[in-house]
Symmetry: C2
Subunit: 161 residues, 2 copies
């Protein structure tokens, strides 16, 4: 038993999340605006859909972690609930990039204020009863899973480079 | 401070790894042998290369965690060191699938015997001195990163379905 282990677990999970944010930042740096409108593979999602999808899913952590009101709830329907519509009038790439940056700034700052006990507490979509049955439904687990989710889509976005 | 937190951190990291193994199992279930020889996107890696790559990278955990000799070290050069060679004589898909299953069986069993302290100890590629400077170079962190690495490539393999 070691008090450091739990702190380490939190810190390395946050670091992994940051490292995949940096990988997306590097892709954003490289792609021209026009490239975001290309399909990542024939008949597959375009870059713009994946970017909006990642913002909307990560934005969901604001609510799941009880950090306040979601910033970009309007992205949930077009980029999560609905599959990609290649005729849809999505927000511009410039707008999405700016939201991506603002969201990460907000989350990084909020995460840095969370204690170890906060990270291992229930996320807001689980009842107290269910959490007692399965304490893995905690915030740290959500962040770890969001990181893998982001890695999954970065594996696709990389095909635009 | 809570003794359970560190146990939870270990358990949920193993669970996340297993869940991405299951996602690859589901892809293996669905694809015909011939499909593995298709490119995941034009001029990108074929399914067979990604499958061999995931086996080789995951196999590396045997050595990194001090669990014995790697089982499939011969896959390192063709599937990790070298980029894909579309003329290469790779092992058959049936052989790779069987190795994938055996490797996961071995790792699952070995992981289940590791203690919390084992998970937070240094992996074998870091010196004692460097580990002291950065205790995040532990085995649990390697497993978490391997899971995201696998998610990244599963995002690509899914394009074969």
């Amino acid at each position: 038993m070691n008090d450091n282990y739990e702190t380490l677990a939190v810190q390395q999970t946050i670091n992994a999340w940051q490292s995949y944010n940096k990988r997306l930042d590097a892709i954003i740096e490289k792609l021209t605006e026009e490239t975001w409108y290309r399909e990542t593979a024939p008949a597959r999602n375009r870059g713009i859909y994946i970017l909006g999808h990642l913002i909307a899913v990560n934005d969901g952590m604001i609510a799941l972690f009880g950090l306040g009101e979601r910033k970009y709830k309007h992205l949930e329907k077009p980029f999560v609930t609905d599959p990609e519509n290649k005729e849809a009038d999505y927000p511009s790439v410039a707008e999405l990039k700016s939201e991506w940056n603002k969201l990460n700034g907000f989350l990084e700052s909020a995460f840095s204020k969370m204690t170890v006990a906060d990270w291992f507490s229930a996320h807001t979509a689980v009842s107290a009863e269910d959490f007692e049955k399965n304490p893995m439904r905690n915030k740290l687990n959500v962040l770890m899973n969001r990181t893998s989710h982001q890695a999954y889509h970065i594996g696709q976005l990389i095909y635009l480079i």
